[in-house]
């Protein structure tokens, strides 16, 4: 009944549903893999791939996320389960919170699975900076999830929703793309360093949009 318990219950439902079918995860992983491989065909030398790798990695994640986040609220329309959720929770923010935490987990899982493949294809050393990489992956994915979950609720109520979500989401996530790429590139540099400004920036992005979602979420679900 409290926000925490409602969020936990909903998070559990999202995770249980996904791990039962694994359809979202498998298709997302394969999609990102495909994008990473295709991008690698466009490079000549290994120094080029090292330079462009981080940006393309994040671009691949963004594209994948904009596809993966579509079913988020669309699923709830099939049997009108969204109405059931709205009737059962005290604070509608719990619905968003449960979903965005689940989406962050799915994105992070996809990214961690693909990181070794990326390292091999693009000749980048990830082991020495693995901890920091996970941090930037987490902060970036969180930002993507927050914005994506919110906009998924918008696009579910419009026409052409398959195209609409990427259209709305990708420009909005430009700051995440820029900052995450920068931090990742710094970590994968021959002389790796931690771009603290970037990490702070990502945290600010996440906070701003989480707050916006908290303030306006209930209106997104209005009938």
């Amino acid at each position: 009944m409290s926000l925490l318990s409602n969020t936990t219950a909903l998070l559990g439902k999202e995770l249980r549903t996904e791990f039962r079918s694994r359809e979202l995860l498998t298709t997302t992983v394969v999609f990102v893999l495909m994008v990473i491989v295709l991008f690698s065909f466009t490079f000549e030398t290994s120094s080029e791939s090292r330079r462009f790798g981080p940006g393309l990695l994040w671009l691949a994640f963004l594209f994948a996320a904009s596809l993966m986040l579509q079913p988020c609220f669309l699923r709830e329309q099939a049997n009108d389960t969204l109405s059931a959720l709205r009737l059962s929770v005290d604070d509608p923010f719990a619905i968003f919170l449960g979903k965005l935490i689940a989406n962050t987990c799915f994105l992070l899982l996809t990214e961690l699975l693909l990181l070794p493949i990326f390292a091999v294809l693009y000749n980048v050393p990830i082991l020495p900076v693995l901890g920091w990489l996970v941090l930037v992956l987490f902060l970036g994915s969180l930002g993507v999830s927050i914005a994506g979950t919110a906009l998924s609720a918008v696009s579910a109520q419009a026409r052409m929703r398959e195209l609409l979500l990427p259209l709305l989401l990708l420009p909005l996530l430009t700051p995440v793309l820029v900052a995450s790429t920068q931090v990742t590139a710094a970590l994968l540099d021959p002389a790796p360093y931690v771009e603290w400004k970037g990490i702070g920036f990502l945290a600010v992005f996440d906070l701003v949009f989480l707050t916006a979602l908290w303030l306006f979420g209930e209106y997104l679900l209005e009938e």
Binding site: K13, R16, N79, D80, A84, L85, R86, L87, E223
Partner: protein, 234 residues
């Protein structure tokens, strides 16, 4: 079905209007439903029955007018009357089992002893042996029973049903009628939309007909139940 602790409650629609753009779904609807009443809403498709029910359930906000609940006792959840809603759609997850579905909603609603309550409800709706089956595998009748079980989780004082008998075979319809009768006798106030006469409509204490968003006939003002249900123009 319901423990004797159900709290009687009524609801009052005061000049309710609802519009979507330039379309009026409801216009100047004023209806007083006393506690314990079993009211049937009749009307063609698009007459506003679903909209009125969704407003009563709290899913939709009226464009104008207000909705008030009245309750006899003071022991309601935070002073709010508990309602249950059975919609056209089942409002349960296909990818979860019957038990998982009810447990999820019970936990969300903060129902004490959720596990026990869920087992009780599953037994009441005759789905105990299918508790571990995914709802996806259920027949229409079984899904309807799931929907009702979900609506009854918090022991509502007011039950709202939107065409609950649609798609049910005679056996299912008989089960539904029996269940609703027991609830009504237990003190639950009911507002349901129906098409035509049936076993379910037979237990109504009152009927109201809507047409293009307005109340056009009401047994409370003398119209006959039969005429309202069968769309015969008075």
């Amino acid at each position: 079905m319901n423990p004797p602790g159900i709290v009687a409650a009524g609801l009052h629609f005061e000049n309710i209007g609802k519009r979507y753009g330039s379309l009026f779904a409801l216009r100047h609807v004023t209806l007083e439903i006393a506690s314990g009443d079993c009211v049937v809403l009749a009307g063609r498709n698009g007459s506003g029955k679903t909209t009125l029910l969704r407003i009563a359930a709290g899913l939709s906000r009226p464009s104008s007018g207000s909705l008030k609940f009245s309750s006899a006792a003071s022991c309601t959840k935070d002073g709010q009357v508990k309602t249950g809603f059975v919609a056209h759609a089942t409002m349960v997850y296909d990818e979860l089992t019957a038990e998982e579905n009810l447990l999820l909603f019970a936990k969300l609603q903060g129902i004490p002893n959720a596990h026990g309550r869920v087992q009780l409800l599953l037994a009441d709706v005759d789905l105990a042996d299918r508790r571990d089956s995914l709802v996806r595998t259920f027949s229409r009748g079984m899904r309807q029973r799931m929907a009702i079980a979900r609506a009854l989780l918090r022991e509502p004082s007011i039950l709202l049903l939107d065409e609950p008998a649609t798609g049910l075979d005679p056996h299912g319809a008989a089960w539904l009628a029996g269940t609703l009768r027991r609830l009504r006798d237990g003190g639950c106030t009911m507002l349901m939309s129906l098409h035509g006469e049936s076993e379910v409509s037979a237990m109504a204490t009152r009927a109201v007909r809507l047409d293009t968003g307005k109340v056009v006939a009401d047994t409370a003002s003398g119209a006959s139940l039969k005429s309202i249900l069968t769309f015969a123009d008075a």
